[in-house]
Symmetry: C2
DNA sequence: GTCTATAGACTGATAGAC
DNA sequence: GTCTATCAGTCTATAGAC
């Protein structure tokens, strides 16, 4: 099934896993080499150093985190209410596949702000100058919600979608008799609930 | 002002800072010793090892994260609507003082689940068997919201409060011309907004 | 391209003087 | 209790054979 991938891709795949699980500091190049089924020296042959390899993985991870919504957000053909559904569901899908991603990105930015902050600038003005932002503004002007920054609503979408997945271990251990199935149901319920709540905040009739 | 604190407390204070900033893996015992203004050997004299010191800091950090609400949540004298205000505002206060706390706890649990999961068990059943949960259930039964698990609402409170603070670097760099003052205003606006939204979800008239 | 062997640097921890 | 000096182990990175 994964027989023909190049060694370079094998290493990147292993690096993605180990870095996202343990973070840069606790990740060992030996772990990555073992996970990839290759020798440690080969890792330095393809990528000059642990740091260079990490930079590549982090670049990818950040693009994955933001790129996901950029497409939907600026699509002018999608009506506001449906767009909310799409954003939430796409994020949930992506996060369930890759649940370690957001915590990895956030905590590495925190551990090394100077180095990583500038890269986020790639998606600069992602929010202020997009069509979704405009759609929300229009709706909020109509419905007498002019005092509220549309960014507040956008952050609510991201918060209510990302946090329950980032905080999975907490959720499970606090709410004691919660099985994996319970958790899956809990998250899946939010696919419908979060868009409903967002529509309430925006006073979308539907 | 902080002249008379014991050496042990000085080390703990420094450890709290360094661990929460860099995480266990990237934190160096030398960094902690320097930050505390003492020698490296002294750190091992007071605490047997880096790991023991970390365990103490993590124990404290977790208690700080949960302990904060436990008191309010089980107070039967506080009415539901006001309790929501209290929880949000206490959390915002605490997180602004200690913004690295949640990301630290969450990412260390992820990096080392086996070791840290059991400790959360201290606050087991924090949610299911508390009075706040009962208050929400009652309200939701009255208002024809029986299909929704009150835990969903509780998670919304935590998500909408914690995430914007955890994601500060992202928020600032994505929404490009955002100063520190802008950010402070943004968070302070949420002190009123989040409770309003939660009341909407619970159909609390007020 | 891929391996083994090892260098070189860093880190946590301790011994021992004061 | 606090320090200096140092050890032992671990980790990244490279040299060199195939």
């Amino acid at each position: 099934m994964e027989k023909d991938i190049s060694t370079e891709e094998k290493i990147k795949k292993a690096a993605r896993k180990v870095f996202q699980e343990k973070g840069y500091g606790q990740a060992r190049t030996r772990d990555i080499a073992d996970e990839a089924g290759i020798n440690l020296a080969l890792l330095n042959y393809y990528f000059r150093s642990k740091e260079k390899l990490f930079d590549i993985i982090m670049e990818e991870s950040m693009q994955q985190m933001f790129g996901l919504i950029v497409g939907v957000v600026n699509d002018e053909s999608i009506e506001l209410s449906r767009k909310i559904d799409l954003i939430v569901n796409r994020y949930v899908d992506s996060l369930l596949e890759n649940p370690n991603l957001p915590l990895f990105v956030l905590s590495e930015i925190q551990a090394n702000p100077k180095k990583l902050m500038e890269r986020v600038g790639i998606s600069e003005n992602l929010i202020k100058n997009n069509y979704f932002y405009k759609q929300m503004s229009d709706q909020m002007n109509k419905k007498d919600l002019k005092g509220i920054d549309p960014l507040q609503i956008f952050i609510n979408i991201v918060s209510m979608t990302v946090f329950p997945i980032v905080g999975k271990p907490l959720l499970i251990s606090i709410h004691s008799p919660m099985t994996e199935d319970d958790y899956a149901n809990f998250i899946n319920d939010r696919r419908k609930l979060v868009p409903q709540w967002i529509r309430m905040m925006l006073k979308i009739d539907k």
